[in-house]
Structure formats: structure tokens, C-alpha cells
């Protein structure tokens, strides 16, 4: 009997030791979004999708994973990164064959006025759903995507860490990718360093900046910010005088139903504009020189052109060749190599 009493604790110890390891409790770490100089404090982070380290990491993995198509990826690369290339400011860097050119994914956490060229999608979470299901984009079935990811070895655990449940839902897929996209922050261009007093612009770059922010110069700032609006866009919609006839059924008027929005599109950020070719909603310009030439000499008047196109009656802002070169020199200071090469934004699967 004594022997039995001696053995019993050992037996219990073995039992305890053999008990499967308890799952780590769901304790995500809050992700701290930076607050760069002259950026808004207001973000579009929804109350039901706060950013977490785990959520951003999961979103990054999904962003680059062909299995987001609900297939194994051998039928062709289909994920967010198929069209959003980091080196091209997270746009396509050419014609993607879509109705509108691919917009960059940069500093979107501070965009509170709708997404896409016409602003028809209001949240990044919705944008994920739109892109995944669009027949001309990822072209996936959301239920199939969920089923496929659920069967993988790695994703259920990553979803648990991010959202507290091993059961994958498409809502959580949307949330994770939206978190990653919100984490894409560009705030370290030469111009940012100039604003922070860390680096001086060259004389040509300064002259270009002066042109950028003056009505008698290139008159860019009313729509594209600068200085105390370092997003380099108002994120609002304007008809910038590209055309004088409007047949695009997907311009801003398709969303607002207003005549006055015919030919209007979102003013995109000019951050990393040098690597964001092609330009305009339809990608009609391939170089910055063409864009500057357009604003200088080829702006077309129409009833719906934005009143902010002050110089339309002269066909544009009428820049000299020297001024065009200076403006281009300034625009090049908006290239943020830190952003374009940030390892935290690259494909984690390689």
C-alpha cells in the first residue's frame, strides 16, 4: 500500500506532463501607426478593426499569397501584389488592362473620402472584397477562398493570433489585408526631410516647389497639397481638364449622380509619383514630362472643369522649359526610397 502511495504522485505527474500544451491566450499587440509631420491625425481605422501587429502580419501574408484566389496559384498569380508592386508605389507600373489604371496604395490610412478613382468604395475592407471578387481582378469566390485557407496548415493559427478564432471568415480576411494596407506609410522622401529640417533642397528643387505652391506658377497645391498637407493630395475629386467630352460611365458622377462631377476623378497623391507611371485615371501619359506638358499647355475647358483650374482660358499654366524642369526636379523629391524598399512591406513568403 505504501508503495502504491509512493507511485501515485509519479503517476499523476506523468498524467500532467502528458496533457497537451494549452493554447496561448488571444493577446494581440496593438500596432502603432506613425504620425508623420503635417499628416492628419484623423484616420479611417474602423472601430471594429483596430490595427494589431498580428493583424498586419497576417494581412501582409495574404496580400502576397496566390491562395487568396481560393486556388493553389498554379493557374496564374492572383493576389493583391499581382497589381500592386512595392517598387511602383504599390501600383501596377504599367497598363493592367483594367478600365482605370491601378491606383497606388500609399498613406491610405488617412484617406477618409472614398477609394478608387471615383470614390465608389468607402472602406479598405470593402475594397478587399471588391478586388477579390471582381471578374477582372482576382476573380475569386469568397466561400471558396475561406474553405481553401481553412484547410492550410498555417492560416488558422495566424487568424487565431490576429482575431481570436481559428475559424477563418472572409470578414477577417478583409480586415487583415486592410490593416496591412493601412500600415503602408510613406513619409521619408527628400521633401519630408526638408520639411523636418533635416535636408536642404537644391535651388532647382526649391524653385520647383515655389512653382508647385503658387497660382502664378504651376498651381498644383489646391488639389495636391504640399507644405502643411504632406499627403500631397486633398483626396477630393476634380475634373482637371483632360477632356471636354465625357463618356466614361465610371467617373465621379457615377457615384454622386451629379452633372457637375462629369469627368471628375480623385486627385491621387503625388508621393512617389516618379515611379507611379502611367498617369491619370486612364493611364494616358507614361512620363512626368507628358503630364507637365499637359498642365502647361493642353488643359481643355468644359462646363464641368473644376474652377480651381485657374489657367484653363490660357490652355494651362504656361511654363517655360526651365520651369518645367524645375517642377519635375521638385516632383522627384517626393520619391521615398525608404518606402519603396521597406522590408516590412515586402513579400513575407520569400
Amino acid at each position: 500500500m505504501r508503495r502504491l502511495i509512493r507511485i501515485l504522485p509519479l503517476f499523476l505527474l506523468c498524467l500532467f506532463a502528458c496533457k497537451p500544451e494549452q493554447e496561448k491566450p488571444y493577446q494581440p499587440t496593438a500596432y502603432v501607426l506613425p504620425q508623420p509631420l503635417y499628416f492628419p491625425s484623423l484616420t479611417n481605422i474602423p472601430a471594429d478593426n483596430p490595427m494589431t501587429e498580428e493583424g498586419v502580419a497576417l494581412g501582409r501574408k495574404l496580400f502576397y499569397d496566390a491562395r487568396l484566389s481560393g486556388r493553389d496559384g498554379t493557374d496564374g498569380i492572383r493576389n493583391c501584389a499581382s497589381c500592386h508592386h512595392q517598387g511602383n508605389n504599390f501600383d501596377f507600373g504599367g497598363s493592367a488592362g483594367l478600365h482605370h489604371s491601378v491606383m497606388p496604395l500609399v498613406n491610405l490610412a488617412w484617406n477618409t473620402t472614398g477609394l478608387g478613382w471615383n470614390g465608389g468604395v468607402t472602406t479598405l475592407e470593402d475594397m478587399v472584397l471588391a478586388a477579390v471578387t471582381s471578374p477582372v481582378e482576382i476573380n475569386a469566390d469568397t466561400n471558396q477562398v475561406v474553405r481553401y485557407l481553412q484547410k492550410t496548415d498555417d492560416y488558422p493559427e495566424l487568424f487565431y493570433k490576429a482575431f481570436g478564432s481559428h475559424e477563418i471568415t472572409f470578414i477577417n480576411i478583409e480586415r487583415a489585408i486592410a490593416q496591412f494596407v493601412r500600415s503602408l506609410v510613406s513619409a521619408d522622401s527628400k521633401f519630408d526631410r526638408y520639411l523636418r529640417g533635416e535636408e536642404q533642397l537644391t535651388q532647382d528643387e526649391l524653385e520647383g516647389y515655389l512653382l508647385f505652391v503658387t497660382e502664378n506658377g504651376a498651381d498644383c497645391f489646391h488639389c495636391h497639397g504640399g507644405g502643411s498637407n504632406a499627403l500631397m493630395t486633398t483626396n477630393l475629386y476634380y475634373n482637371n481638364g483632360l477632356d471636354d467630352e465625357f463618356n466614361d460611365p465610371e467617373d465621379r458622377s457615377a457615384i454622386t449622380g451629379s452633372h457637375w462631377d462629369r469627368g471628375a476623378y480623385k486627385a491621387p497623391t503625388l508621393r512617389n509619383i516618379a515611379v507611379s507611371s502611367p498617369y491619370m485615371h486612364d493611364g494616358r501619359f507614361t512620363t512626368l514630362d507628358e503630364v507637365i506638358d499637359f498642365y502647361s499647355d493642353s488643359v481643355k475647358n468644359s462646363l464641368t472643369i473644376s474652377p480651381l483650374m485657374h489657367h484653363v482660358m490660357q490652355g494651362g499654366v504656361q511654363l517655360t522649359n526651365e520651369e518645367k524642369a524645375q517642377l519635375k526636379a521638385f516632383l522627384n523629391t517626393l520619391t521615398d526610397e525608404t518606402f519603396l524598399n521597406n522590408p516590412n512591406y515586402s513579400d513575407p513568403n520569400h
Binding site: 497660382e215 502643411s228 498637407n229 477630393l236 449622380g257
Partner: protein, 301 residues
């Protein structure tokens, strides 16, 4: 004994102070209105004419009013909070200025600053839109536009040209000197603030007054791109003195005859087109399609 008496008196004084009746206060709502030629503003409508004979339309008005104060019958000025309001014809709720905790009583004067004075007009004051979108570039003096009034006018060549009355800090030609073009306005009022009552005050921007008194303001000369034109800024600053009122005035140009030519016809034809219809590939359609796929899958399972 003296000490005890002193403490007693101190306690009584404290009791008296603590029993003092709190200042009674009420709230005030200032409703911003716009009129042109004596009638309420209709945006995006080519139906106005200024004193110089320019026909025009207004798309939007975005502006700052600051440092509002009320003068009571004892000639004391009461500062109203918040000290700055951003007002935007595109944002209906911004046209209603809500001011809390004004001492009850009668007030005879309202005064305010149109725009922002030197103390407030500092680059970086506003970090968020829509206020931050009013920024006025540092090379031109910095801070913010006091006002952006945007629209179109019929120019000398009978074309619709941009109309931009953008007010802010002016500069001399080499930008070595800056001129603050804000101005202060005082309006006689008869206002009683009662406790627990939603007190109302109407304020009007009489838009045509920007362009006529004391200076005739011609859009063919100063219609657009005036941020670097201190002459235009000064004319508007001087004209601005009688732009604001708490009484709706009837205009002095009630019988305007607009030129009935091809420009107006083109404009009217445009306005009478059917409203643009959303294309199939819109978010709402995508969402509907996705929902129906999900429903089908549920039914199948």
C-alpha cells in the same frame, strides 16, 4: 478669542461664496445664410450678375469666421467658444454654428473676425480636412485661406471661365512683405439669451456686396488667381465691411436680364440632361452580386 472669531468669519465667508447662485447660461445657434441680389444663393446656377455686369455662378464657399463676441447692455464683451468656425456650403452642418454657455441676458452687438488674425493664422494649426485643405502656402505668407469662393463667370469672350475669390495673406511682388487681409466686423443685434432655450441668430453673407462697395470689382480683371494679387485682395477687404448682416437685405438688382445666347443655352441643356446613371461595375453592384452568390451557396449546402 480673536483667532476663533477670525476662523468663524472665514467659514461664514466661504459658506456665502459657496451658496452664490451659479451664472445662468443658455445656448446659441447662429445660422449662416447666403444671398445674391436679395435672394437665397442657389449653387451651380448661372443666374447672377454683379455690379460690373459679369454674369456668374457659385459652386462653393468655404471660409473661416473667428473670435465671435457678444456685447451686453452693460457694454461688456463675452467671448464665444469655439473661437474658430470653418463654414462650407458643401457641408450643411457646418452652416450651423453651435455655441454653448452664454450668460443669460440681452445683447446688442455681435463682432467677429472674417478669416483668421495673426495669432490664429499659423501653418499647421489644422491637421485634418476639411480645414487643412484651406492651407495657404508658406511662400505666400502661410496659414490658411480666409475664404475660397469658387464658381464660373462669363468672360469677355462669352466663355465660362473660372471664378476664384480666394482671400488670405497678401504679398508684395517679391514676397518680401506680407499683408494680413482679415478684417473685423461689428453688427448691431437685438438678442436675448434665455436659460435652457435654443436661442437663434441668423447671419447673412450678402455675396454681391463683395463686388461693389466701395470698389467696383470686375471679374474680367480679378476673376481668378488672385492669391498673389494684393490689389485684388485689398479691394475685397474694403468691400467686405458690409458683406455681413443679421438682416436679410433685398438686393438692388432684382431685374437682371441674362444674355440668352448659346453659352446660356449650352448651360441649360447640360443642366436638363438626365442625371448620370451608375455603371454596372460599381461597388453596390459588386456587393449585391457577392451577397447573392453567398445566398446560393447557403441554399445548396
Amino acid at each position: 478669542m480673536k483667532k476663533t472669531l477670525f476662523i468663524l468669519m472665514l467659514l461664514m465667508a466661504m459658506a456665502l461664496v459657496s451658496c452664490k447662485k451659479p451664472v445662468q447660461s443658455g445656448d446659441l445657434t447662429v445660422n449662416i445664410n447666403y444671398s445674391v441680389n436679395g435672394k437665397p444663393l442657389i449653387t451651380d446656377s448661372l443666374c447672377y450678375q454683379n455690379e460690373a455686369g459679369n454674369e456668374f455662378m457659385i459652386t462653393e464657399i468655404q471660409w473661416f469666421i473667428s473670435k465671435m463676441e457678444l456685447q451686453n447692455e452693460q457694454d461688456e464683451w463675452v467671448e464665444l467658444e469655439p473661437r474658430i468656425f470653418y463654414i462650407d456650403t458643401n457641408i450643411p452642418e457646418s452652416q450651423i454654428l453651435r455655441i454653448a454657455s452664454i450668460p443669460v441676458g440681452k445683447y446688442k452687438t455681435l463682432r467677429f473676425t472674417f478669416g483668421l488674425d495673426e495669432a490664429y493664422n499659423q501653418t499647421g494649426l489644422f491637421s485634418n480636412p476639411p480645414e487643412s485643405n484651406m492651407f495657404w502656402p508658406d511662400p505666400l505668407g502661410g496659414g490658411y485661406h480666409y475664404m475660397k469662393l469658387n464658381g464660373k463667370y462669363r468672360n469677355e469672350n462669352e466663355e465660362l471661365a473660372p471664378l476664384n475669390i480666394h482671400l488670405g495673406i497678401g504679398q508684395n511682388t517679391d514676397q518680401s512683405e506680407f499683408y494680413h487681409n482679415y478684417f473685423n466686423v461689428e453688427l448691431p443685434i437685438s438678442l436675448t439669451i434665455a436659460e435652457n432655450t435654443e436661442n437663434q441668430l441668423n447671419m447673412f453673407m450678402i455675396i454681391d456686396n463683395w463686388f461693389r462697395n466701395p470698389n467696383l470689382y470686375d471679374f474680367d480683371e480679378f476673376g481668378s488667381a488672385i492669391m498673389q494679387n494684393q490689389t485684388a485682395q485689398q479691394l475685397l477687404k474694403e468691400n467686405g465691411k458690409d458683406v455681413f448682416s443679421t438682416i436679410q437685405h433685398s438686393g438692388n438688382q432684382n431685374n437682371i436680364t441674362m444674355k440668352n445666347d448659346k453659352t446660356l443655352k449650352r448651360f441649360n441643356n447640360f443642366m436638363h440632361q438626365a442625371a448620370p446613371k451608375p455603371h454596372f461595375w460599381t461597388w453596390e453592384n459588386v456587393k449585391r452580386t457577392v451577397e447573392s452568390i453567398k445566398d446560393n451557396l447557403k441554399q445548396q449546402s
